[in-house]
């Protein structure tokens, strides 16, 4: 069994599902011969042909609208936005149709589609190639929002997303596309779309995060461990619908919570988690909730971007504040 990277796991999941379900098609800009600008669709056109691996005209509105139409007629399209920063032209179709068609038609029609996009900053990319805009989707009923942070979770969650009968926004943290390899059996096993993943057990403080920030968060947990602090680390992974129970259970144990994400702080998805804690965990908390996030500014061009993204030090400092507070 080969060791593969996160992006290879994406390719592996796409290939598995295309091989097992003829209704799965992939579409987007440069997904064909080029295999995608990050190579997520590498080799698919050779295996499955240009009728199922479709280079579209350069128009996100086209991609999104085709996707809705394909899905409504029984296909399972996996659409790609070349970067998360180019997904805005897809929003009308996603919000007004993908997320609503089942509801609008009382179940007569549905949109079993996936929208994939490389997501987040930290790769020294040009403008508009580094956004973390997951919050936009999390207020929209009818959508699922998934954000894997390891090769195995990318594989299992992408399979689940394609099989799910409802539309899924599937963001891939491009900063860790090739960060490390792990064994991911190509067995077609999906992961559940409604549970958070507890990556590390701990009893002193709960660190909640998703996407590329899982890396810094685990490192922060290491640093805290060196100080004798046992941090529990949760990868939310499936942001919407949210599995708050797992988070709540952890906070019941630790009494402290630090939420880490790279999107801007205000109205980022971290706010929802903090809000649920304020509603449901007030008597469990022994310290104020902390958020370690991108600032409420645009992620800067790359000379400054690492100053923008949450760092290990910021996470550790926030965890320490929760420990000092109580």
């Amino acid at each position: 069994m080969a060791q593969i990277t996160l992006i290879e796991a994406v390719t592996q999941a796409l290939a598995w599902e295309m091989a097992h379900d003829p209704s799965v098609v992939v579409l987007g800009e440069d997904v064909g011969v080029n295999g995608g600008v990050f190579r997520a669709t590498l080799g698919l056109i050779d295996r499955f042909g240009a009728e199922r691996v479709i280079d579209t005209p350069l128009d996100e509105t086209t991609i999104a609208g085709l996707t809705v139409g394909l899905a409504a007629q029984g296909m399972k399209p996996v659409a790609e936005a070349q970067f998360e920063g180019f997904i805005y032209g897809m929003l009308e179709q996603i919000i007004c149709h993908a997320a609503r068609l089942r509801n609008r038609t009382r179940g007569r029609m549905s949109v079993p589609a996936v929208w994939r996009a490389p997501w987040g900053g930290g790769i020294r990319a040009p403008e508009h190639h580094s956004e973390a805009n997951e919050a936009i989707f999390t207020n929209v009923p009818g959508l699922r929002v998934v954000l894997p942070s390891s090769p195995a979770r990318a594989y299992g969650l992408l399979l689940a997303s394609i099989r799910d009968p409802d539309p899924v926004i599937f963001f891939e943290p491009k900063r860790i596309y090739r960060q490390y390899k792990e064994e991911v059996p190509d067995d077609g096993e999906a992961l559940p779309l409604d549970v958070c993943f507890v990556l590390r057990d701990g009893s002193d403080v709960t660190l909640v995060t998703w996407g590329a920030q899982v890396k810094e968060t685990l490192e922060a947990a290491d640093a805290l461990a060196a100080e004798g602090v046992r941090a529990e680390v949760i990868d939310v992974a499936t942001l919407k619908p949210l599995d708050f129970d797992t988070i709540h259970e952890s906070v019941r144990k630790t009494g402290r919570c630090v939420i880490v994400h790279e999107a801007p702080r205000t109205a980022g998805f971290g706010a929802e988690i903090a809000a649920r804690l304020a509603e449901h965990a007030m008597y469990d908390l022994v310290a104020p909730v902390e958020r370690v996030t991108g600032y409420d500014t645009h992620i800067p061009l790359f000379r400054l971007e690492m100053k923008y993204l949450p760092s290990v030090e910021r996470i550790v400092a926030a965890a320490r504040r929760t420990l000092a507070a109580s």
């Binding site: 128009d59 086209t62 809705v68 007004c96 549905s110």
Partner: protein, 355 residues
């Protein structure tokens, strides 16, 4: 200078405004007078339904309603030219096409009456529902056409759009991808001269709306949309081409919105009574009636009898609508996802308790 490309847009009309033949090469279907009578009857039915729906709205028994007065020929041509397994993606007033495809008036009323069940209609299950965000339906049709192409099914997708909607990004994107991928899509621009208060001339500098298809490399045609025969001939031609893999087409149906935009609109604010009066002289039913009567295929007595029959049918449908109880409160949850996520269970329970 050398010429890189030339284009021509033709205009199609068989029946002029008075119901006389503008040309002699009638298409085969139009020589079957019984079929024309049937389509004329359907147009009359739609008109009677339309008036009834407005009356319902005025008496508080329906929400905002978008009438189709004056568009009947265009819509019947579309509906009758399609096969059952073709896909129709409409905007919001193409009732003639939909009734022909099996949608019931009571379903239509339910939708405009504020009940989602209207969209779970008796028409083909693969037809799209009414689509309020202008233009977006055109890409659904394109996606459907792409599905047919991938699956090698000899099916065609048809979408309709208004003159206003032909400015919307999605419409142009749909035309473009149709040309780029040679999709079996027929796009019909229903040019009724107004987009709420904005006249056709303010939407675009293009001489015809049909020529929007030139940008996409499509065959384009302008048709008298009040002439059922021309519209039907155009649709037959376009659908056949598409079904046989020769690609999509862009048809402009020139018609006129004789009504307000919707019951929430007052067209007198922005257009002249004279313009509307003039348009009535070109409306689609009058000319078809004249044509059929000249052929001795239709009489005033038949007209009266048919109208009565329509009224009885529509009244029964209206009653069925009025008698349909509201959905229970949990209905607002139960179609958000295929299965209610655990995260939402508590909210649903709370709503049910509250009633």
């Amino acid at each position: 200078m050398p010429t890189a490309a030339t284009f021509e847009i033709e205009y199609l009309q068989f029946l002029d405004a008075d119901g006389s033949l503008a040309r002699n090469d009638l298409p085969a279907f139009a020589r079957d007078t019984r079929q024309l009578v049937k389509l004329y009857q359907e147009m009359l039915m739609v008109r009677i339904f339309d008036a009834k729906a407005i009356a319902l709205q005025r008496t508080g028994k329906l929400g905002t309603y978008a009438p189709c007065l004056g568009h009947e020929a265009t819509y019947l041509a579309i509906g009758s030219a399609m096969q059952e397994d073709d896909v129709l993606a409409v905007s919001y007033r193409e009732y003639g096409a939909q009734f022909h495809r099996g949608v019931k008036p009571r379903e239509l009323l339910l939708y405009w009456g504020g009940d989602e069940r209207g969209n779970d209609f008796s028409g083909p299950a693969h037809d799209f529902a009414w689509c309020v965000p202008i233009g977006t339906q055109c890409l659904h049709a394109a996606g459907s056409a792409l599905a047919f192409k991938i699956r090698k099914e000899p099916r065609v997708a048809v979408c309709t759009i208004g003159d206003g909607g032909s400015s919307k990004a999605d419409f142009n994107s749909a035309l473009n991808v149709t040309g780029a991928m040679q999709l079996p899509l027929v796009a019909v621009i229903v040019n009724n001269q107004w987009a709420i208060s904005v006249p056709r001339g303010a939407q675009t500098g293009a001489k015809t709306l049909a020529q929007k298809g030139i940008a996409a490399g499509l065959e384009c045609l302008q048709v008298d949309g009040n002439d059922l025969i021309a519209m039907r001939a155009a649709m037959d031609y376009a659908i056949k081409r598409a079904r046989h893999g020769h690609g999509g087409m862009c048809i402009e149906a020139v018609t006129y919105r004789l009504s307000d935009h919707t019951t929430a609109d007052d067209a007198r604010r922005y257009r002249s009574e004279q313009e509307v009066k003039d348009a009535w002289a070109r409306e689609p039913l009058r000319r078809m009636k004249a044509y059929l009567m000249a052929l001795n295929a239709w009489t005033e007595e038949e007209e009266v009898a048919w109208k009565e029959q329509c009224t009885r049918y529509v009244d029964a449908e209206v009653n069925a609508y009025l008698e349909t109880k509201s959905q229970p409160v949990e209905a607002m949850f139960d179609y958000t996802y295929a299965e209610l996520p655990p995260d939402l269970v508590a909210q649903r329970a709370e709503a049910v308790v509250r009633g």
